[in-house]
């Protein structure tokens, strides 16, 4: 029983991380049909910005609990500044080309951003565990867990519900849905599609940065951080069905729990269990768990 609980708690923590890392990717794809390879770079960007801000925050003895707010805001803002700029100047001029060309540009941006981050922050790792230590531990049975786990799960749930609210209840959400369904008709109806794209891309990148920012206190922030995040996010998003919010939620929960089971019972599978799940899901549901039928072009 206790082992079951251990797996569940570990799994939920990993699921929350997967969801936060991947949700921005699916948002961008859903609206813009762009698979953003640079997604992982925004994750690193968020982590580094968070590391710098946290270092400054605690060096100056600002109120420690407000550090979480600072963390969230700084990571989010970093993503929202860099993302739309790249979208406007690097991607938009090529929108008339193939999906594949855009994919390759984002791959080029990934290569560039990796090194730009190294140029700004250097190659030495950063450690900012203060927010992590601040939250202390909680006990489940005879096991002790960091409260930070709860924070990650809470954050994932908040982001998920927030996005749902944004899509279903706000004017911008309605516009997004309209653009998702038909870009050209939306534009004809007077929707500023360019602005919607810029905001969506910014939001997607900010979510990746947010995931990186909140992961920063639990790891050593070092170069190459984003490389793994990209492929894991791809796997989660494709399994869930590209562009589907419930899909990415379900896929992260499933993969998080399954990985946790693997870590406990068969650690040698840990590294590739997620990709195996992806391959199996795609074998039976070629477009992922939740996917819309696409019109054939003749």
């Amino acid at each position: 029983m206790s082992q079951f609980l251990v797996i569940l708690i570990d799994g939920m923590n990993y699921s929350a991380w997967l969801f936060l890392s991947a949700v921005g990717l699916t948002l961008i794809y859903g609206v813009m049909k762009i698979l953003n390879v640079a997604h992982g770079s925004f994750y690193s960007l968020g982590a580094y910005v968070a590391a710098s801000v946290m270092g400054y925050w605690f060096a100056n003895d600002y109120p420690p609990y407000w550090s979480f707010v600072a963390l969230a805001i700084s990571a989010f803002v970093a993503g929202f500044i860099v993302g739309p700029l790249l979208e406007r100047f690097m991607l938009r001029p090529q929108y008339d080309k193939d999906e594949v060309v855009i994919l390759l540009i984002t791959y080029g941006l990934f290569l560039i951003l990796e090194d730009v981050i190294k140029m700004i922050w250097g190659v030495d790792p950063y450690f900012v565990s203060e927010p992590y230590e601040l939250l202390d531990m909680f006990e489940v049975g005879d096991m002790i867990y960091p409260r930070y786990y709860l924070l990650m799960v809470g954050l994932a749930v908040t982001v998920g519900l927030g996005l749902l609210f944004l899509l279903k209840k706000t004017k911008f959400g309605r516009l997004l849905v309209a653009v998702i369904h038909d870009r050209e008709i939306s534009a004809a109806m007077g929707v500023n599609v360019g602005l919607v794209f810029a905001i969506t891309f910014g939001l997607g990148c900010s979510l990746a940065a947010l995931a990186g920012g909140f992961t920063a206190p639990t790891i050593s922030v070092s170069p190459g951080l984003g490389v793994e995040v990209i492929v894991l996010s791809f796997a989660v998003v494709v399994t869930g069905g590209l562009g589907s919010l419930p899909g990415v939620a379900l896929a992260s929960i499933f993969m998080g729990l399954l990985r946790s089971v693997c870590v406990h019972f068969a650690p040698q599978f840990e590294l590739f269990v997620i990709f195996t799940v992806m391959a199996m899901v795609l074998t039976f549901r070629p477009r992922g768990l939740f996917s819309l039928a696409e019109a054939r072009k003749i």
Partner: protein, 313 residues
């Protein structure tokens, strides 16, 4: 017969290269071998891209070929390089055929990502297999060429010659394939698959075929690299390796079967120069080059060459 002209020019270029080999330093010979191997993988990617597909998983066969060679050389005591190449080609081909059954049903991003997933699975398997050295990999012993045992001075040039021969065969095959009815279908599949089906041709079968060809080419390249470097490790299967192949495909363009080798040469030069000049920013240089090519020369370096020659198209 422009078909033969392309191949003959390539053959002439390779021959000239080998004749000049004694003037090229050892590291240059090594780099050229890698260039030819990369070009070989990218020749497969060229076929994919002609059909509108981008694979982020060619590293799978690259690594699979390398490990086949490494295992055969270490445990079966096979030393002949052609035998090793043959074994790698066969195992990679079988692997590509098996995965192709599934992958040939997928298009666009799903094709790219699913192939990436398979290559990451191989990476995970190899990285966790301690008997094969986990993430450290293992060494590949020296090889013989049809009974001839190259000395340590002549080993680089001998392997380059083997790679050149292989590249030439692959280019002739690629050229013949692109002129064949199936090769001509590739562009049609990219433009409109449903029309291809109405014509009575099978898009799936065509894609399965090029997938196997691409797998065999990548397996051969992996084998060459294993023999040439003398060491293999699982990072050969990581998605960033596949990314490099995609990079070269775009760099060279898909206008000709020689374009991949041109792209690979450019990639090799940029990589070597950028890496030695500024080891921390070489990715920046590569990324800028990639985006620059997409913006300025959307058809790759090859289009520059054909424009210079005044080809009208």
């Amino acid at each position: 017969m422009s078909a033969d002209k392309t191949v003959i020019r390539f053959a002439g270029f390779l021959l000239a290269l080998l004749l000049c080999a004694s003037f090229i330093p050892q590291w240059g010979l090594f780099m050229l071998t890698i260039v030819l191997a990369n070009g070989l993988v990218v020749l497969g990617c060229l076929l994919f891209l002609r059909a509108g597909l981008v694979s982020f998983g060619q590293a799978l066969y690259f690594c699979f070929g390398a490990y086949t060679t490494g295992l055969a050389a270490n445990f079966l005591n096979v030393t002949d390089v052609f035998l090793l190449l043959l074994m790698s080609a066969v195992t990679s081909g079988i692997m590509a055929w098996l995965l192709g059954v599934l992958l040939s049903k997928y298009r666009a991003i799903f094709f790219g990502l699913l192939s990436m997933a398979f290559s990451m699975i191989l990476y995970g398997l190899l990285a966790k297999t301690e008997s094969l050295g986990s993430t450290d990999g293992f060494n590949v012993p020296a090889v013989t060429i049809l009974g001839y045992e190259p000395s340590s001075e002549s080993v680089r040039v001998s392997i380059l010659a083997v790679a050149a021969l292989l590249a030439l065969l692959a280019v002739s095959f690629g050229q013949a394939f692109l002129k064949s009815p199936m090769g001509l279908l590739l562009t049609a599949i990219r433009d409109n698959e449903i029309r291809v089906e109405y014509m009575g041709a099978s898009a799936q079968k065509t894609i399965h075929t090029i997938y196997v060809i691409g797998g065999v080419f990548a397996g051969l390249a992996g084998s060459i690299v294993a023999v040439s470097v003398g060491h293999i490790d699982p990072t050969m299967a990581v998605w960033t390796t596949s990314g490099e192949f995609v990079f070269i495909t775009i760099m060279g363009g898909i206008g000709s079967v020689i374009a991949p080798f041109l792209g690979a040469l450019a990639f090799g030069i940029i990589h070597t120069v950028a890496f030695s000049e500024s080891p921390n920013t070489w990715q920046l240089v590569l990324g800028t080059a990639l985006i620059g090519i997409i913006y300025i020369l959307p058809d790759g370096l090859w289009s520059l060459l054909s424009r210079l020659r005044g080809d009208k198209k």
